[in-house]
Amino acid sequence: MADFNVNLRGVGPVSVIDVKGYLDAHTAPELENVFNKLLDTKQFKVVVNFDDLKYISSAGLGVFMAYVETMRDNMGDIKFSNMKENVYNIFDLLGFPILYEFYKDENEAIKKFDIIG
């Protein structure tokens, strides 16, 4: 079974989620738990750092789709950063760049939150 690891850290008012390994139907619930925790503590500004992510399946993509609406309704967002090319291609093919913001660097994404809110 492929490994997956998720880590949550706060950078100012923004929550940064580091995802690592393989995000698929089996490991997606781990990421969902993190998002649920964020909702519980009313933290809606999220940056997902994809630096160490090797693979994402449709179930993994579904996690972001499930939570993005709530985040945006509460003046927050889910932004993506540090994505490897192969992972980005999957997002790109599905048209995610039209709906989500992608950044090369995590700090860039965090800064975007500062400007708005």
Partner: protein, 682 residues
Amino acid sequence: MKKQVKKAAQARGLENTILVSILLFLFNLIFPIHDSSILAVINEFLVFATVYFLYNYIYHFLHTKTDSPLSLILNAGILTALIFFIISILNAVLGSNNGNNEGLGFFNSLLSVFLTFVFISAIVYIFSTFRELFFLRQKKDPGIYFNTMLLFFAFSFFSNILTKFDSNLDYPHDAFYVVTIVLISINSIRVAWIAFIPKKQKYYLLLISIVLSILFGVTYSLVIQSNILRQTLYTFSPGLQSIFSLVMIYGTIYCGVIFFTTLFHLPTAEAFDRKVDEVSSMMDLTKLITRVFDFKELADTVTTMTTRVCNSDSAWLVTKIVGGIEVTSVHNVGYVVADEVSRTVLGSGENDYDSVEVIHYDLLRAEIKLNEQEFKSIAIAPLKVHGKIIGHLFAARQKENSYDIDERKAVQAFADYAAVALENAKLISESIEKERMEKELDVARDIQRKILPLNLPVSDNLAISALFVPAFEVGGDYYDFFELDDERLGFIVADVAGKGISAAFIMSEVKGIFKSLANMISNPRDLLIKANEVLKGSLDKRNFVTALFGVINKSTGKLNIARAGHTPLLHCSGEIMTRLQPAGIGLGLDYTSNFSNSLKEMEIQLKNNDIIICYSDGIPEAKNSSEEDFGYDRLESLILQNCDLKLDTISKNIMKELSVFTQDHSQHDDITLVLFKWIQKI
């Protein structure tokens, strides 16, 4: 077969007995008084034969009733009492006219024969009872001791007749008599069965045995006293009188031994009972574990048995769950109390007991305030599976006395059983779940097979080949063709995100949507926009569908496509491969104007022998053992190498190459491959 033989022998035994009895009866009718020694000896032999055959018959009969030794003894006791009663009455009635009984002749003889039969039956029955008890619960076969005793019984029987001829000849009989008594004493020690009867019955036995011992003793003294009965019996058959007194001695000694043995067994009776109860409870549990798969039911049985067998007032079972502990089953205690005590002892699951331990309530009392039940001592045993503690079994007493080592062991034994049961129940529910999932997979595969088109459209200038390989987990691939009108052929290749039965259901809905929309809308872009709107109501937040819709004009060779997040379409024209990836986001990702605004349509003019390749992401995302993707480049170059071949051969070669690439890596996703070749009519 063996049973039948035995039965026949037994039936024969009864016949023999009756036959000899009749002979004896007739003999005594004909010769009421046998003075001559020949007659006396013949009579003696007849009596012996009667006794012998009756004994043979009765002990077989009694052998079937050894389950309750107490009732065997009781029956023997009743018989003895009856004999005692008869003897007493006879003494009272006939005792006065001691002198002239000789003259009564016929009547007297008849009476004595009748009495003899009663006595013979009684002593044979009593003796057989002793025999059964003797052999009861014996590990080794002690038959030789008993048979020796039988032999001396016979010697005593026959030697007594000598005294009739000459009163000086009493020493052989006396010698045999004494030896027999010694043998009786030796054989009376075999009372192993007493240990196995329950405590309550032991009290009864104690009472019965002392009463019977006295009764036998008194009857014995009546028989050896010089009175009318002894005289009648002796006159009739000296041997019978001899063994009658011997059986009475046997009874006295045996019942005495029983009395003392039971007395000595009484202190250990309770422990013995408990051990027996424990063993039988364990056996019941073992049976239950293999039959009952509901853990709750088993847990209830465990707590009930623990309470009973371990002399406790209450028992309860606590299992570990995620983030704490849970009281699974209680017996004789409220859930709240059990929960409170457990939490005080175990915390929220972090304080484990590695082996059974007893804690005294006084130590806990400061921490718990309970008003209904107060436990003085509590035994706690861990439920261990593969060395991991998965719960605890509690047994509690309201009395002051603590749990002794045996009781602790018993609590631990029950805890072990509960652990096995818990593990069993878990494994079974897991296998049921697995089975259910496999069933679900079958259903999903079935749906998928029915959704895909059976036949491909046939056309003069358009060759079509379609291939579908389902993955083990069943993805949500779908393709279809629609004859829009005489000229135009529409086609769809779609992929529902997710797997299993839910994906299969969405897929069937997608089919319905496209089938109906294709009747109304022939523009690919408009059709996808409409499909996205319709899907809004049926797709879950995290679900989406990628699709590629195309329309080929069969007379002009014009191809229009729109893509909603699906893998790019490949266009192979001569030596040139083009990836057609018009903008567009997946269906269900967005329901605002973003979707329609971003969706672009593309139009290309096909040339002779151009090949169009549609596929699902199962191909480029197929992985090899080092988690490397098959990728688009590999696919494109493979098609370029094969573009001169027939379509079916091309797809076959692609699949071959894919399987070489992935090797032993299992197919993760469905694979769909739809190829078109445009053949220009000149």
